[in-house]
Protein backbone atom coordinates (compact mmCIF):
# COMPACT_ATOMS: atom_id res chain seq x y z
CA UNK A 1 0.00 0.00 0.00
CA UNK A 2 2.80 2.37 0.84
CA UNK A 3 4.46 1.49 -2.43
CA UNK A 4 1.28 2.42 -4.29
CA UNK A 5 1.03 5.75 -2.49
CA UNK A 6 4.69 6.39 -3.19
CA UNK A 7 4.24 5.61 -6.88
CA UNK A 8 1.18 7.84 -7.10
CA UNK A 9 3.07 10.67 -5.44
CA UNK A 10 5.93 10.34 -7.88
CA UNK A 11 3.47 10.22 -10.77
CA UNK A 12 1.73 13.39 -9.65
CA UNK A 13 5.12 15.12 -9.47
CA UNK A 14 5.99 14.33 -13.08
CA UNK A 15 4.85 17.34 -15.05
CA UNK A 16 4.93 15.77 -18.49
CA UNK A 17 2.99 12.79 -17.15
CA UNK A 18 0.22 14.89 -15.65
CA UNK A 19 0.12 17.16 -18.69
CA UNK A 20 -0.20 14.40 -21.28
CA UNK A 21 -2.60 12.43 -19.12
CA UNK A 22 -4.71 15.56 -18.71
CA UNK A 23 -4.89 16.16 -22.45
CA UNK A 24 -5.75 12.53 -23.13
CA UNK A 25 -8.50 12.47 -20.52
CA UNK A 26 -9.99 15.70 -21.90
CA UNK A 27 -9.95 14.34 -25.45
CA UNK A 28 -11.65 11.14 -24.33
CA UNK A 29 -14.31 13.00 -22.35
CA UNK A 30 -15.07 15.30 -25.29
CA UNK A 31 -15.13 12.28 -27.61
CA UNK A 32 -17.73 10.58 -25.44
CA UNK A 33 -19.86 13.55 -24.39
CA UNK A 34 -19.51 15.70 -27.53
CA UNK A 35 -21.52 13.49 -29.91
CA UNK A 36 -24.34 13.26 -27.33
CA UNK A 37 -24.66 17.04 -27.23
CA UNK A 38 -24.41 17.51 -30.98
CA UNK A 39 -27.67 17.55 -32.95
CA UNK A 40 -25.92 15.58 -35.71
CA UNK A 41 -25.41 11.90 -36.28
CA UNK A 42 -22.27 10.20 -37.56
CA UNK A 43 -23.87 8.68 -40.65
CA UNK A 44 -26.55 11.26 -41.46
CA UNK A 45 -25.75 12.59 -44.94
CA UNK A 46 -26.89 16.06 -46.00
CA UNK A 47 -26.53 16.79 -49.69
CA UNK A 48 -27.40 20.48 -49.32
CA UNK A 49 -24.46 20.93 -47.00
CA UNK A 50 -21.47 19.22 -48.63
CA UNK A 51 -17.89 20.17 -47.71
CA UNK A 52 -18.99 22.97 -45.43
CA UNK A 53 -16.03 24.73 -43.82
CA UNK A 54 -15.77 24.70 -40.03
CA UNK A 55 -17.87 27.41 -38.43
CA UNK A 56 -20.71 28.09 -36.09
CA UNK A 57 -23.48 27.55 -38.65
CA UNK A 58 -25.62 24.45 -37.84
CA UNK A 59 -23.37 23.86 -34.83
CA UNK A 60 -20.82 22.21 -37.14
CA UNK A 61 -17.59 23.38 -35.57
CA UNK A 62 -15.46 20.98 -37.60
CA UNK A 63 -17.41 21.46 -40.87
CA UNK A 64 -18.83 18.64 -42.98
CA UNK A 65 -17.35 16.00 -45.26
CA UNK A 66 -17.97 15.25 -48.92
CA UNK A 67 -21.27 13.54 -48.06
CA UNK A 68 -22.42 16.35 -45.81
CA UNK A 69 -21.83 14.37 -42.63
CA UNK A 70 -20.86 16.31 -39.53
CA UNK A 71 -17.11 16.08 -39.12
CA UNK A 72 -17.11 16.80 -35.39
CA UNK A 73 -19.28 13.81 -34.62
CA UNK A 74 -17.33 11.64 -37.04
CA UNK A 75 -13.97 12.73 -35.62
CA UNK A 76 -15.13 11.99 -32.10
CA UNK A 77 -16.40 8.59 -33.20
CA UNK A 78 -13.00 8.11 -34.81
CA UNK A 79 -11.27 8.94 -31.53
CA UNK A 80 -13.51 6.47 -29.68
CA UNK A 81 -12.90 3.67 -32.18
CA UNK A 82 -9.17 4.34 -32.36
CA UNK A 83 -8.74 4.32 -28.60
CA UNK A 84 -10.95 1.28 -28.00
CA UNK A 85 -9.16 -0.73 -30.70
CA UNK A 86 -5.80 0.30 -29.29
CA UNK A 87 -6.69 -0.59 -25.70
CA UNK A 88 -8.22 -3.95 -26.57
CA UNK A 89 -5.31 -4.76 -28.87
CA UNK A 90 -2.89 -3.81 -26.11
CA UNK A 91 -4.69 -6.13 -23.71
CA UNK A 92 -4.39 -8.94 -26.26
CA UNK A 93 -0.67 -8.29 -26.60
CA UNK A 94 -0.37 -7.97 -22.83
CA UNK A 95 -1.92 -11.38 -22.22
CA UNK A 96 0.15 -13.10 -24.91
CA UNK A 97 3.35 -11.28 -24.00
CA UNK A 98 3.13 -11.79 -20.23
CA UNK A 99 2.17 -15.45 -20.51
CA UNK A 100 4.87 -16.16 -23.10
CA UNK A 101 7.60 -14.19 -21.34
CA UNK A 102 6.78 -15.52 -17.89
CA UNK A 103 6.76 -19.12 -19.07
CA UNK A 104 10.03 -18.73 -20.98
CA UNK A 105 11.68 -16.98 -18.07
CA UNK A 106 10.40 -19.33 -15.39
CA UNK A 107 11.01 -22.62 -17.17
CA UNK A 108 14.37 -21.43 -18.48
CA UNK A 109 16.98 -23.64 -20.07
CA UNK A 110 16.37 -25.09 -23.50
CA UNK A 111 12.67 -24.17 -23.57
CA UNK A 112 13.61 -20.56 -22.91
CA UNK A 113 16.27 -20.62 -25.63
CA UNK A 114 13.86 -22.01 -28.22
CA UNK A 115 11.04 -19.65 -27.23
CA UNK A 116 13.25 -16.58 -27.36
CA UNK A 117 14.81 -17.68 -30.64
CA UNK A 118 11.27 -17.76 -32.04
CA UNK A 119 10.68 -14.21 -30.81
CA UNK A 120 13.94 -13.10 -32.44
CA UNK A 121 12.81 -14.68 -35.69
CA UNK A 122 9.49 -12.85 -35.56
CA UNK A 123 11.27 -9.60 -34.73
CA UNK A 124 13.10 -9.72 -38.01
CA UNK A 125 9.90 -9.92 -40.04
CA UNK A 126 7.93 -7.05 -41.47
CA UNK A 127 4.90 -8.15 -39.50
CA UNK A 128 2.54 -5.52 -40.78
CA UNK A 129 2.63 -7.19 -44.18
CA UNK A 130 1.39 -10.40 -42.65
CA UNK A 131 -1.43 -8.48 -41.04
CA UNK A 132 -2.33 -7.05 -44.42
CA UNK A 133 -2.23 -10.55 -45.86
CA UNK A 134 -4.54 -11.67 -43.06
CA UNK A 135 -6.90 -8.78 -43.81
CA UNK A 136 -6.93 -9.73 -47.49
CA UNK A 137 -7.49 -13.41 -46.84
CA UNK A 138 -10.32 -13.06 -44.33
CA UNK A 139 -13.36 -10.86 -44.09
CA UNK A 140 -12.48 -7.63 -42.39
CA UNK A 141 -14.03 -7.50 -38.99
CA UNK A 142 -13.36 -5.78 -35.71
CA UNK A 143 -12.28 -8.91 -33.90
CA UNK A 144 -9.66 -9.77 -36.48
CA UNK A 145 -8.21 -6.27 -36.27
CA UNK A 146 -7.80 -6.60 -32.50
CA UNK A 147 -6.19 -9.99 -32.75
CA UNK A 148 -3.93 -9.00 -35.62
CA UNK A 149 -2.66 -5.86 -33.92
CA UNK A 150 -2.25 -7.61 -30.59
CA UNK A 151 -0.37 -10.37 -32.33
CA UNK A 152 2.27 -7.94 -33.60
CA UNK A 153 2.86 -6.03 -30.43
CA UNK A 154 3.45 -8.78 -27.89
CA UNK A 155 7.11 -9.31 -28.77
CA UNK A 156 8.55 -6.45 -26.71
CA UNK A 157 6.36 -7.37 -23.78
CA UNK A 158 7.48 -11.00 -23.94
CA UNK A 159 11.15 -9.98 -23.89
CA UNK A 160 10.82 -7.62 -20.98
CA UNK A 161 8.65 -9.93 -18.90
CA UNK A 162 11.09 -12.78 -19.52
CA UNK A 163 13.99 -10.70 -18.29
CA UNK A 164 12.14 -9.74 -15.12
CA UNK A 165 10.97 -13.29 -14.52
CA UNK A 166 14.50 -14.60 -14.82
CA UNK A 167 15.53 -12.48 -11.85
CA UNK A 168 12.32 -13.01 -9.85
CA UNK A 169 12.69 -16.77 -10.21
CA UNK A 170 15.77 -16.72 -8.01
CA UNK A 171 14.08 -14.88 -5.14
CA UNK A 172 13.36 -16.51 -1.79
CA UNK A 173 9.58 -16.32 -1.92
CA UNK A 174 9.57 -18.31 -5.15
CA UNK A 175 11.85 -20.93 -3.60
CA UNK A 176 9.52 -21.05 -0.61
CA UNK A 177 6.50 -21.58 -2.85
CA UNK A 178 8.31 -24.28 -4.77
CA UNK A 179 9.33 -26.07 -1.58
CA UNK A 180 5.78 -26.13 -0.28
CA UNK A 181 4.76 -27.91 -3.47
CA UNK A 182 2.99 -25.14 -5.39
CA UNK A 183 2.64 -26.03 -9.09
CA UNK A 184 4.69 -24.17 -11.70
CA UNK A 185 1.60 -22.66 -13.33
CA UNK A 186 0.40 -21.35 -10.00
CA UNK A 187 3.81 -19.91 -9.17
CA UNK A 188 3.91 -18.12 -12.49
CA UNK A 189 0.45 -16.61 -12.26
CA UNK A 190 0.06 -16.07 -8.50
CA UNK A 191 3.58 -15.26 -7.37
CA UNK A 192 5.55 -13.97 -10.33
CA UNK A 193 2.94 -12.15 -12.45
CA UNK A 194 1.84 -9.74 -9.65
CA UNK A 195 5.45 -8.62 -9.30
CA UNK A 196 5.58 -7.69 -12.96
CA UNK A 197 2.84 -5.06 -12.67
CA UNK A 198 5.19 -2.06 -12.74
CA UNK A 199 7.06 -2.98 -15.92
CA UNK A 200 3.91 -4.20 -17.54
CA UNK A 201 2.09 -0.91 -16.93
CA UNK A 202 4.97 1.01 -18.48
CA UNK A 203 5.08 -1.17 -21.56
CA UNK A 204 1.32 -1.22 -22.03
CA UNK A 205 1.41 2.57 -22.12
CA UNK A 206 4.08 2.33 -24.80
CA UNK A 207 2.16 -0.39 -26.68
CA UNK A 208 -1.03 1.65 -26.98
CA UNK A 209 0.43 4.23 -29.39
CA UNK A 210 1.94 1.43 -31.46
CA UNK A 211 -1.45 -0.25 -31.66
CA UNK A 212 -3.04 3.07 -32.65
CA UNK A 213 -0.42 3.40 -35.36
CA UNK A 214 -1.14 -0.05 -36.79
CA UNK A 215 -4.91 0.38 -36.67
CA UNK A 216 -4.84 3.78 -38.33
CA UNK A 217 -2.32 2.54 -40.89
CA UNK A 218 -4.67 -0.29 -41.87
CA UNK A 219 -7.72 1.98 -41.89
CA UNK A 220 -5.81 4.54 -43.93
CA UNK A 221 -5.15 1.90 -46.58
CA UNK A 222 -8.83 0.94 -46.55
CA UNK A 223 -8.13 -2.42 -44.92
CA UNK A 224 -9.23 -1.61 -41.38
CA UNK A 225 -12.44 -0.05 -40.08
CA UNK A 226 -15.09 0.08 -42.82
CA UNK A 227 -17.68 2.75 -43.65
CA UNK A 228 -19.97 4.09 -42.22
CA UNK A 229 -17.96 3.30 -39.08
CA UNK A 230 -14.78 5.26 -38.96
CA UNK A 231 -11.48 5.73 -37.19
CA UNK A 232 -8.90 8.48 -37.27
CA UNK A 233 -6.89 6.63 -39.92
CA UNK A 234 -9.93 6.26 -42.15
CA UNK A 235 -10.76 9.97 -41.67
CA UNK A 236 -7.21 10.98 -42.64
CA UNK A 237 -7.58 8.81 -45.75
CA UNK A 238 -10.86 10.56 -46.65
CA UNK A 239 -9.17 13.91 -45.94
CA UNK A 240 -6.30 13.17 -48.33
CA UNK A 241 -8.79 12.79 -51.19
CA UNK A 242 -10.39 16.16 -50.43
CA UNK A 243 -7.40 18.16 -49.27
CA UNK A 244 -7.22 20.61 -52.17
CA UNK A 245 -10.70 22.04 -51.59
CA UNK A 246 -11.40 21.07 -48.01
CA UNK A 247 -8.16 21.03 -46.06
CA UNK A 248 -10.02 20.75 -42.72
CA UNK A 249 -11.04 17.21 -43.62
CA UNK A 250 -7.35 16.29 -43.54
CA UNK A 251 -6.05 18.62 -40.86
CA UNK A 252 -8.60 17.95 -38.10
CA UNK A 253 -8.27 14.15 -37.89
CA UNK A 254 -4.54 14.40 -38.60
CA UNK A 255 -4.07 16.81 -35.69
CA UNK A 256 -6.19 14.68 -33.36
CA UNK A 257 -4.23 11.57 -34.25
CA UNK A 258 -0.91 13.36 -33.83
CA UNK A 259 -1.86 14.81 -30.44
CA UNK A 260 -3.15 11.48 -29.14
CA UNK A 261 -0.03 9.62 -30.26
CA UNK A 262 2.28 12.28 -28.89
CA UNK A 263 0.52 12.25 -25.51
CA UNK A 264 0.66 8.47 -25.23
CA UNK A 265 4.36 8.47 -26.08
CA UNK A 266 5.14 11.21 -23.55
CA UNK A 267 3.01 9.38 -21.01
CA UNK A 268 4.90 6.15 -21.60
CA UNK A 269 8.26 7.87 -21.30
CA UNK A 270 7.21 9.60 -18.10
CA UNK A 271 5.82 6.35 -16.65
CA UNK A 272 9.13 4.68 -17.37
CA UNK A 273 10.91 7.41 -15.45
CA UNK A 274 8.53 7.01 -12.50
CA UNK A 275 8.77 3.23 -12.34
CA UNK A 276 12.46 3.00 -13.15
CA UNK A 277 13.37 5.68 -10.65
CA UNK A 278 14.79 3.23 -8.15
CA UNK A 279 16.89 1.44 -10.79
CA UNK A 280 18.10 4.58 -12.47
CA UNK A 281 19.58 6.20 -9.40
Amino acid sequence: MRMLADTLRRMSKSRSLMFSAGILVSIVIVAIVGPMLSPHDYQQTDFDNLLHAPGRAHMQFFGTDDLGRDLFVRSMLGVQVTIVVAIVASIVSLVIGVAYGAIAGYVGGRVDAVMMRFVDTLYALPFIFFVILLMVAFERNFLLIFVAIGAINWLDMARIVRGQTLSLREREFVDAARLTGVSAARIIFRHIAPNLVGVVIVYVTLTIPQAILVESFLSFLGLGIQEPQTSLGALVDAGVNQMEGASWMLLIPAALLAVILLCFNFLGDAMRDVFDAKDAR
Binding site: T121, A124, L125, P126, I128, F129, F130, I132, L133, L134, M135, V136, A137, F138, E139, P209, L213, S216, F217, F220, L221, G222, L223, G233, V236, D237, G239, V240, M243, E244, S247, L250, L251, A254, L257, A258, L261, L262, F264, N265, F266, D269
Partner: protein, 307 residues
Protein backbone atom coordinates in the same frame (compact mmCIF):
# COMPACT_ATOMS: atom_id res chain seq x y z
CA UNK B 1 34.55 -14.09 -40.58
CA UNK B 2 33.60 -16.05 -43.71
CA UNK B 3 32.63 -19.03 -41.58
CA UNK B 4 30.48 -16.77 -39.42
CA UNK B 5 28.83 -15.28 -42.49
CA UNK B 6 28.04 -18.70 -43.94
CA UNK B 7 26.62 -19.91 -40.63
CA UNK B 8 24.37 -16.88 -40.38
CA UNK B 9 23.24 -17.38 -43.98
CA UNK B 10 22.32 -20.99 -43.22
CA UNK B 11 20.50 -19.80 -40.12
CA UNK B 12 18.33 -17.54 -42.25
CA UNK B 13 16.98 -20.42 -44.31
CA UNK B 14 14.55 -21.84 -41.70
CA UNK B 15 13.28 -18.32 -41.06
CA UNK B 16 12.57 -17.80 -44.71
CA UNK B 17 10.91 -21.18 -45.01
CA UNK B 18 8.71 -20.38 -42.02
CA UNK B 19 7.74 -17.07 -43.64
CA UNK B 20 6.83 -18.66 -46.94
CA UNK B 21 4.80 -21.50 -45.43
CA UNK B 22 3.02 -19.15 -43.04
CA UNK B 23 2.12 -16.69 -45.78
CA UNK B 24 1.06 -19.48 -48.14
CA UNK B 25 -1.18 -21.14 -45.58
CA UNK B 26 -2.73 -17.82 -44.57
CA UNK B 27 -3.77 -17.09 -48.11
CA UNK B 28 -5.06 -20.60 -48.66
CA UNK B 29 -6.99 -20.74 -45.41
CA UNK B 30 -9.04 -17.83 -46.68
CA UNK B 31 -12.75 -18.54 -47.00
CA UNK B 32 -13.79 -18.41 -50.63
CA UNK B 33 -11.60 -18.69 -53.69
CA UNK B 34 -10.10 -15.96 -55.81
CA UNK B 35 -12.76 -16.42 -58.51
CA UNK B 36 -15.75 -16.19 -56.18
CA UNK B 37 -16.54 -12.52 -56.34
CA UNK B 38 -16.63 -12.26 -60.12
CA UNK B 39 -19.78 -12.90 -62.11
CA UNK B 40 -20.95 -16.48 -61.83
CA UNK B 41 -18.73 -18.64 -63.99
CA UNK B 42 -19.89 -21.73 -65.83
CA UNK B 43 -18.60 -24.77 -63.90
CA UNK B 44 -16.29 -25.91 -66.67
CA UNK B 45 -14.65 -22.46 -67.02
CA UNK B 46 -14.20 -22.39 -63.29
CA UNK B 47 -12.65 -25.84 -63.22
CA UNK B 48 -10.31 -24.86 -66.05
CA UNK B 49 -9.26 -21.69 -64.21
CA UNK B 50 -8.68 -23.57 -60.99
CA UNK B 51 -6.64 -26.21 -62.82
CA UNK B 52 -4.58 -23.47 -64.47
CA UNK B 53 -3.75 -22.06 -61.04
CA UNK B 54 -3.26 -25.52 -59.47
CA UNK B 55 -6.16 -24.97 -57.10
CA UNK B 56 -7.58 -28.46 -57.75
CA UNK B 57 -4.67 -30.23 -56.08
CA UNK B 58 -4.39 -31.01 -52.36
CA UNK B 59 -2.86 -28.26 -50.24
CA UNK B 60 0.53 -29.83 -49.51
CA UNK B 61 1.03 -30.49 -53.21
CA UNK B 62 0.17 -26.90 -53.99
CA UNK B 63 2.68 -25.77 -51.38
CA UNK B 64 5.43 -28.04 -52.73
CA UNK B 65 4.68 -26.89 -56.25
CA UNK B 66 4.80 -23.27 -55.15
CA UNK B 67 8.10 -23.77 -53.33
CA UNK B 68 9.77 -25.53 -56.22
CA UNK B 69 8.69 -22.80 -58.62
CA UNK B 70 9.70 -20.13 -56.12
CA UNK B 71 13.25 -21.46 -56.02
CA UNK B 72 13.40 -20.82 -59.75
CA UNK B 73 12.09 -17.29 -59.24
CA UNK B 74 8.63 -18.10 -60.57
CA UNK B 75 5.81 -16.80 -58.37
CA UNK B 76 3.08 -17.65 -60.83
CA UNK B 77 0.74 -15.39 -62.76
CA UNK B 78 -1.06 -12.48 -61.13
CA UNK B 79 -4.77 -13.11 -60.64
CA UNK B 80 -5.74 -9.62 -61.70
CA UNK B 81 -3.08 -8.41 -64.08
CA UNK B 82 -3.57 -11.54 -66.13
CA UNK B 83 -0.90 -10.77 -68.75
CA UNK B 84 1.89 -10.46 -66.22
CA UNK B 85 3.65 -12.82 -63.86
CA UNK B 86 4.14 -11.76 -60.27
CA UNK B 87 7.91 -11.82 -60.74
CA UNK B 88 7.61 -9.41 -63.67
CA UNK B 89 5.47 -7.02 -61.69
CA UNK B 90 7.88 -7.09 -58.76
CA UNK B 91 10.86 -6.68 -61.07
CA UNK B 92 9.31 -3.61 -62.67
CA UNK B 93 8.11 -1.94 -59.51
CA UNK B 94 10.94 -2.63 -57.10
CA UNK B 95 13.66 -0.35 -58.56
CA UNK B 96 11.53 2.74 -57.91
CA UNK B 97 10.89 1.70 -54.30
CA UNK B 98 14.54 0.82 -53.82
CA UNK B 99 15.67 4.24 -54.99
CA UNK B 100 13.15 5.94 -52.70
CA UNK B 101 14.01 3.79 -49.71
CA UNK B 102 17.77 4.11 -50.13
CA UNK B 103 17.55 7.89 -50.37
CA UNK B 104 15.33 8.06 -47.29
CA UNK B 105 17.67 5.82 -45.33
CA UNK B 106 20.71 7.86 -46.27
CA UNK B 107 18.99 11.11 -45.33
CA UNK B 108 17.81 9.60 -42.03
CA UNK B 109 21.30 8.44 -41.06
CA UNK B 110 23.08 11.67 -41.98
CA UNK B 111 20.62 14.05 -40.32
CA UNK B 112 19.73 11.74 -37.43
CA UNK B 113 23.36 11.18 -36.42
CA UNK B 114 24.19 14.86 -36.81
CA UNK B 115 21.21 16.01 -34.74
CA UNK B 116 21.73 13.35 -32.10
CA UNK B 117 25.45 14.15 -31.70
CA UNK B 118 24.69 17.85 -31.48
CA UNK B 119 22.12 17.22 -28.74
CA UNK B 120 24.59 15.03 -26.83
CA UNK B 121 27.35 17.64 -27.04
CA UNK B 122 24.99 20.42 -25.94
CA UNK B 123 23.36 18.28 -23.30
CA UNK B 124 20.66 19.95 -21.17
CA UNK B 125 20.70 23.14 -23.22
CA UNK B 126 17.91 24.59 -25.28
CA UNK B 127 19.33 22.93 -28.42
CA UNK B 128 19.18 19.52 -26.75
CA UNK B 129 15.60 20.01 -25.54
CA UNK B 130 14.49 21.24 -28.95
CA UNK B 131 16.05 18.27 -30.75
CA UNK B 132 14.47 15.83 -28.29
CA UNK B 133 10.98 17.33 -28.49
CA UNK B 134 11.20 17.38 -32.29
CA UNK B 135 12.40 13.78 -32.23
CA UNK B 136 9.50 12.71 -30.02
CA UNK B 137 7.13 14.44 -32.41
CA UNK B 138 8.76 12.71 -35.36
CA UNK B 139 8.42 9.32 -33.71
CA UNK B 140 4.81 9.89 -32.74
CA UNK B 141 3.39 11.18 -35.98
CA UNK B 142 2.82 8.49 -38.58
CA UNK B 143 4.05 8.77 -42.17
CA UNK B 144 0.50 8.85 -43.51
CA UNK B 145 -0.12 12.03 -41.52
CA UNK B 146 3.23 13.70 -42.25
CA UNK B 147 3.10 13.04 -45.99
CA UNK B 148 -0.30 14.57 -46.83
CA UNK B 149 0.28 17.53 -44.51
CA UNK B 150 3.62 18.23 -46.24
CA UNK B 151 1.85 17.99 -49.59
CA UNK B 152 -0.91 20.33 -48.43
CA UNK B 153 1.48 23.05 -47.25
CA UNK B 154 4.51 22.76 -49.51
CA UNK B 155 2.86 21.62 -52.73
CA UNK B 156 -0.79 22.72 -52.71
CA UNK B 157 -0.61 25.98 -50.76
CA UNK B 158 2.92 27.24 -51.41
CA UNK B 159 3.47 25.43 -54.69
CA UNK B 160 7.18 24.99 -54.03
CA UNK B 161 7.36 21.31 -54.88
CA UNK B 162 5.39 18.95 -57.07
CA UNK B 163 2.68 17.02 -55.23
CA UNK B 164 2.50 14.02 -57.49
CA UNK B 165 4.75 11.68 -59.37
CA UNK B 166 3.39 11.34 -62.88
CA UNK B 167 3.67 14.43 -65.04
CA UNK B 168 6.72 15.63 -63.11
CA UNK B 169 10.30 14.96 -64.04
CA UNK B 170 13.64 15.25 -62.31
CA UNK B 171 14.78 15.31 -58.73
CA UNK B 172 12.08 17.63 -57.37
CA UNK B 173 9.45 14.90 -57.37
CA UNK B 174 11.62 12.83 -55.02
CA UNK B 175 11.89 15.51 -52.34
CA UNK B 176 8.55 15.21 -50.54
CA UNK B 177 8.26 11.40 -50.62
CA UNK B 178 11.83 10.95 -49.40
CA UNK B 179 11.45 13.52 -46.63
CA UNK B 180 8.14 12.06 -45.48
CA UNK B 181 9.64 8.60 -45.41
CA UNK B 182 12.82 9.70 -43.62
CA UNK B 183 11.35 11.94 -40.88
CA UNK B 184 10.34 9.23 -38.37
CA UNK B 185 13.67 7.47 -38.89
CA UNK B 186 15.59 10.72 -38.44
CA UNK B 187 13.81 11.04 -35.11
CA UNK B 188 14.62 7.51 -33.95
CA UNK B 189 18.25 7.73 -35.04
CA UNK B 190 18.68 11.12 -33.36
CA UNK B 191 17.42 9.71 -30.05
CA UNK B 192 19.61 6.64 -30.29
CA UNK B 193 22.69 8.64 -31.26
CA UNK B 194 22.17 11.10 -28.44
CA UNK B 195 21.85 8.37 -25.82
CA UNK B 196 24.86 6.39 -26.97
CA UNK B 197 26.97 9.49 -27.61
CA UNK B 198 26.35 10.62 -24.03
CA UNK B 199 27.51 7.20 -22.79
CA UNK B 200 30.60 7.20 -24.98
CA UNK B 201 31.57 10.75 -24.07
CA UNK B 202 31.52 9.73 -20.40
CA UNK B 203 33.86 6.79 -20.97
CA UNK B 204 37.48 6.53 -19.91
CA UNK B 205 39.11 6.66 -23.33
CA UNK B 206 37.38 9.93 -24.09
CA UNK B 207 38.60 11.35 -20.79
CA UNK B 208 42.12 10.23 -21.69
CA UNK B 209 41.86 11.86 -25.09
CA UNK B 210 40.63 15.04 -23.48
CA UNK B 211 43.46 14.93 -20.95
CA UNK B 212 45.90 14.73 -23.83
CA UNK B 213 44.49 18.02 -25.02
CA UNK B 214 42.40 16.85 -27.97
CA UNK B 215 39.61 19.22 -29.00
CA UNK B 216 35.95 18.22 -28.83
CA UNK B 217 35.45 17.98 -32.57
CA UNK B 218 38.51 15.77 -32.97
CA UNK B 219 37.38 13.55 -30.11
CA UNK B 220 33.97 13.10 -31.67
CA UNK B 221 35.33 12.53 -35.16
CA UNK B 222 38.20 10.15 -34.38
CA UNK B 223 37.18 8.45 -31.15
CA UNK B 224 33.56 8.79 -30.12
CA UNK B 225 31.61 8.53 -33.36
CA UNK B 226 32.38 4.92 -34.21
CA UNK B 227 31.44 3.33 -30.88
CA UNK B 228 28.46 5.68 -30.61
CA UNK B 229 27.21 4.41 -33.96
CA UNK B 230 26.85 0.80 -32.82
CA UNK B 231 23.31 1.10 -31.42
CA UNK B 232 22.34 3.01 -34.55
CA UNK B 233 23.72 0.21 -36.67
CA UNK B 234 21.73 -2.38 -34.77
CA UNK B 235 18.64 -0.25 -35.31
CA UNK B 236 19.13 -0.53 -39.09
CA UNK B 237 17.14 -3.76 -39.22
CA UNK B 238 13.94 -2.29 -37.74
CA UNK B 239 14.58 0.89 -39.73
CA UNK B 240 14.58 -1.05 -42.98
CA UNK B 241 11.30 -2.71 -42.06
CA UNK B 242 9.81 0.65 -41.08
CA UNK B 243 10.88 2.29 -44.33
CA UNK B 244 9.35 -0.58 -46.31
CA UNK B 245 6.10 -0.14 -44.39
CA UNK B 246 6.23 3.61 -44.84
CA UNK B 247 6.88 3.27 -48.56
CA UNK B 248 3.52 1.53 -48.92
CA UNK B 249 1.80 4.66 -47.65
CA UNK B 250 4.07 7.16 -49.37
CA UNK B 251 3.72 5.49 -52.75
CA UNK B 252 -0.04 5.44 -52.35
CA UNK B 253 -0.20 9.14 -51.42
CA UNK B 254 2.16 10.39 -54.11
CA UNK B 255 1.02 7.96 -56.78
CA UNK B 256 4.46 6.43 -57.21
CA UNK B 257 4.35 3.20 -59.24
CA UNK B 258 6.50 1.24 -56.78
CA UNK B 259 6.12 -2.07 -55.04
CA UNK B 260 4.15 -0.61 -52.15
CA UNK B 261 1.46 0.68 -54.44
CA UNK B 262 1.16 -2.71 -56.14
CA UNK B 263 0.90 -4.27 -52.72
CA UNK B 264 -1.99 -2.07 -51.63
CA UNK B 265 -3.78 -2.44 -54.96
CA UNK B 266 -3.24 -6.18 -54.78
CA UNK B 267 -4.59 -6.27 -51.23
CA UNK B 268 -7.71 -4.28 -52.13
CA UNK B 269 -8.26 -6.36 -55.30
CA UNK B 270 -7.67 -9.63 -53.49
CA UNK B 271 -4.93 -10.49 -55.94
CA UNK B 272 -3.71 -13.46 -53.90
CA UNK B 273 -0.64 -14.43 -55.90
CA UNK B 274 0.61 -10.87 -56.14
CA UNK B 275 0.14 -10.15 -52.42
CA UNK B 276 1.68 -13.47 -51.46
CA UNK B 277 4.61 -12.83 -53.78
CA UNK B 278 5.23 -9.34 -52.44
CA UNK B 279 5.02 -10.45 -48.79
CA UNK B 280 7.55 -13.19 -49.48
CA UNK B 281 9.74 -10.76 -51.37
CA UNK B 282 9.60 -8.15 -48.60
CA UNK B 283 10.26 -10.72 -45.89
CA UNK B 284 13.23 -12.15 -47.79
CA UNK B 285 14.57 -8.67 -48.31
CA UNK B 286 14.24 -7.80 -44.63
CA UNK B 287 15.82 -11.07 -43.49
CA UNK B 288 18.76 -10.65 -45.89
CA UNK B 289 19.30 -7.00 -45.03
CA UNK B 290 19.21 -7.88 -41.34
CA UNK B 291 21.89 -10.43 -42.08
CA UNK B 292 24.00 -7.78 -43.79
CA UNK B 293 23.54 -5.47 -40.79
CA UNK B 294 24.57 -8.26 -38.42
CA UNK B 295 27.69 -8.98 -40.46
CA UNK B 296 28.59 -5.31 -40.59
CA UNK B 297 28.09 -5.12 -36.86
CA UNK B 298 30.39 -8.01 -36.18
CA UNK B 299 32.94 -6.60 -38.62
CA UNK B 300 32.99 -3.35 -36.67
CA UNK B 301 32.67 -4.83 -33.18
CA UNK B 302 34.77 -8.00 -32.91
CA UNK B 303 33.40 -8.76 -29.41
CA UNK B 304 30.23 -10.14 -31.04
CA UNK B 305 31.91 -12.89 -33.04
CA UNK B 306 33.47 -14.61 -30.06
CA UNK B 307 30.17 -15.84 -28.71
Amino acid sequence: MLRYALLRLLGAIPTLLLVIVLAFLMVHAAPGGPFDDERVLPPETRAALEAAYDLDEPLHQQLLGYLSRLVRGDMGPSYRYRDHTVSELIGNAFPVSLKLGAMAMLLAIVIGVAAGSLAALRRNTLVDRAVMVLAMTGISIPVFVIAPVLVLFLAVNLNWLPAGWSGNEGAARFVLPVVALALPQIAYIARLTRASMIDVLASDFVRTARAQGLGTSAIVRYHALKPAMLPVLSYMGPAIAAILTGSVVVEEIFGIPGLGQFFVRGALNRDYTLVLGIVIFYATLVVLLNLVVDLLYSAIDPRIRRR
